[in-house]
Amino acid sequence: MLVEILLAGFGGQGVMSTGQLLAYAGMHEGLHVAWIPSYGPEMRGGTANCGVTLSDTEISSPLVTEPQVLIAMNQPSFEKYAGAVVPGGVILYNSALVKETGEYPEVLVVGVDANRMAEEIGNVRVAANVILGAYIGLSGVISVASAVEALKDVLPPHRRKLIPANREALERGAALGAGGGRAVG
């Protein structure tokens, strides 16, 4: 088993820590993991992407260049990376900010209204975790419990109060994802 996941969005959408969350959760489940940012310019307002590799054998290249999974939090990210997803892969996107998706016949393309759901939860910054939850629900690559557990690793002590909102995001996303396929959108 070797899964390469790409997460992409605006700086500030929490894409980086969501990727770390996934890596931590994988590590706790005994997988080999690597997390790697494709950090934008030395400046603000750019796009922020990261790649996560989960594998049950040692990871040679930690670079995610042929992702099976794309989590796209905004339109530019979708456009930039959708084409890179390998046949048989899946794209999950934030339908609040991705409006045009185009055709990817060999790929499962799933819209998640993550911004809206995050605002319902009360914190727009948990949107990325909604989509991660959806991916976990959809794929079962790791358990939701591991992801929730890993929130402690990713959130520094003084931000632990954000755990409940993030847990809710993961869980509600997972519930959506477990519904599978187009039903999510």
């Binding site: 770390q20 890596a23 931590y24 590590m27 080999h32 993991v33 690597a34 997390w35 790697i36 940012p37 950090y39 310019p41 030395e42 990871i59 040679s60 290249s61 930690p62 670079l63 260049t65 042929e66 690793d153």
Partner: protein
């Protein structure tokens, strides 16, 4: 009690963690992407353990603070990325000339000039041929994973003290920014050997110590340089390090370091699935270059493919080792791009003729120097 044997750590933090485990308590640095987390980590960590982090006003100043701290006998670190390392060249030459031990981290980025902050290996020549003036050499280590960064940092401090010479540890943006699991070690750290030559105040010594790189009489300076040469020869004999991966029966030998070596290993795995007997030499010491390993391989293998994130720099050292015995090919992505497994596989197929007739078509991004 939920007790974690492992944490996910950024490469940049691992440089700092490795330094701490090596007993380094003094760091002088100036921020620069993509290595700033190293400074952030140590700015928090060092004061907790009685150490000192000083943010210098520039890299020029940082390397000279390192000079002073090393002269005073400390295990001392600085860290930067390409443009900042260029600014340190005078200082590094002075450190080599004053026979001071220190460790310098270069998390390389795309050049030349301001370039960008993407991963690159275009500072190989600067690191191994001597970017500063004069005939000095620095030991250069190139880890390829986050846990290995920690290991290499400890080795770096040991080598620096053993030879009283600067040691550079090079990474790239990928290595600096990626996270991998790292074992949490018990708290103990190494200590530096005694340094009776240090300028730490005369105290009970019979005479003052002097640290200087000035040898105004040419004959003295020649003697100094020849002594250095003897030491360098010793290092070249004794400190070559590399990883050999699936090399035993390899007809094609990929040579790559750092991040690219991981790509190369994945390429080898894939190529072998296609029936191509490939292997990897991953130089861990860039200087001294593991020429013995390359020479041995040159006796057995059919050809070499050097892969770098540059226009081709280490390839010269491979050629110097191979000495015309076997063809040495090159594939590089300069300026901030990491070669992908797929494109290196294509290059492998092209040069091994598995894609027949492709031999003479230059690869899109392969540059033949």
């Amino acid at each position: 009690m939920s007790h974690l044997p492992r944490v996910l750590m950024k490469g940049n933090e691992a440089f700092g963690e490795g330094a701490v485990r090596a007993g380094c308590r003094h760091t002088f640095a100036y921020p620069i992407t993509p290595q700033s987390e190293l400074a952030h980590f140590l700015a928090r960590r060092l004061p907790e353990i009685g150490g000192v982090f000083v943010q210098a006003e520039s890299e020029v100043s940082a390397i000279n603070m390192v000079f002073g701290a090393a002269a005073a006998g400390a295990r001392v670190l600085t860290s930067s990325s390409s443009p900042g390392i260029s600014l340190m060249q005078e200082g590094i030459s002075y450190i080599a000339g004053a026979r001071l031990p220190c460790v310098i981290v270069n998390v390389m980025r795309g050049g030349p000039g301001l370039g960008n902050i993407a991963p690159a290996q275009g500072d190989y020549f600067q690191a191994v041929k001597g970017g500063g003036h004069g005939d000095y050499c620095q030991i250069v280590l190139a880890p390829a994973s986050v846990p290995e960064i920690i290991e290499m940092m400890i080795l770096a401090f040991d080598l620096a003290d053993r030879y009283r010479n600067p040691v550079m540890v090079v990474g790239d943006g990928v290595l600096g920014q990626m996270m991998e699991p790292v074992e949490i070690e018990p708290g103990e750290t190494r200590t530096a050997p005694a340094k009776p030559w240090a300028t730490d105040g005369q105290g009970d010594r019979p005479a003052p110590n002097i640290i200087s790189s000035l040898n105004i009489v040419p004959e003295d300076n020649e003697r100094f340089n020849l002594d250095l040469a003897v030491m360098y020869a010793e290092i070249r004999r004794g400190e070559q390090r590399c990883e050999e991966y699936r090399l035993d029966d390899a007809e094609l030998v990929l040579v790559a370091f750092g991040t690219v070596a991981r790509v190369a290993k994945a390429v080898v795995d894939r190529a072998r699935r296609d029936g191509i007997r490939a292997g990897v030499i991953r130089p861990i010491t860039l200087w001294p270059f593991p020429e013995d390993s390359v020479k041995r391989a040159a006796a057995r293998a059919d050809r070499f493919l050097v892969v770098e994130m540059s226009l081709g720099q280490m390839v010269e050292d491979v050629r110097l080792s191979v000495e015309g015995e076997k063809p040495v090919h090159f594939f590089g992505r300069p300026g901030g791009l990491v070669p992908t497994v797929r494109e290196v596989c294509n290059e492998v197929k092209r040069i091994t003729g598995v894609m027949p007739g492709a031999e003479d078509v230059p690869a899109a991004t392969g540059v033949d120097r």
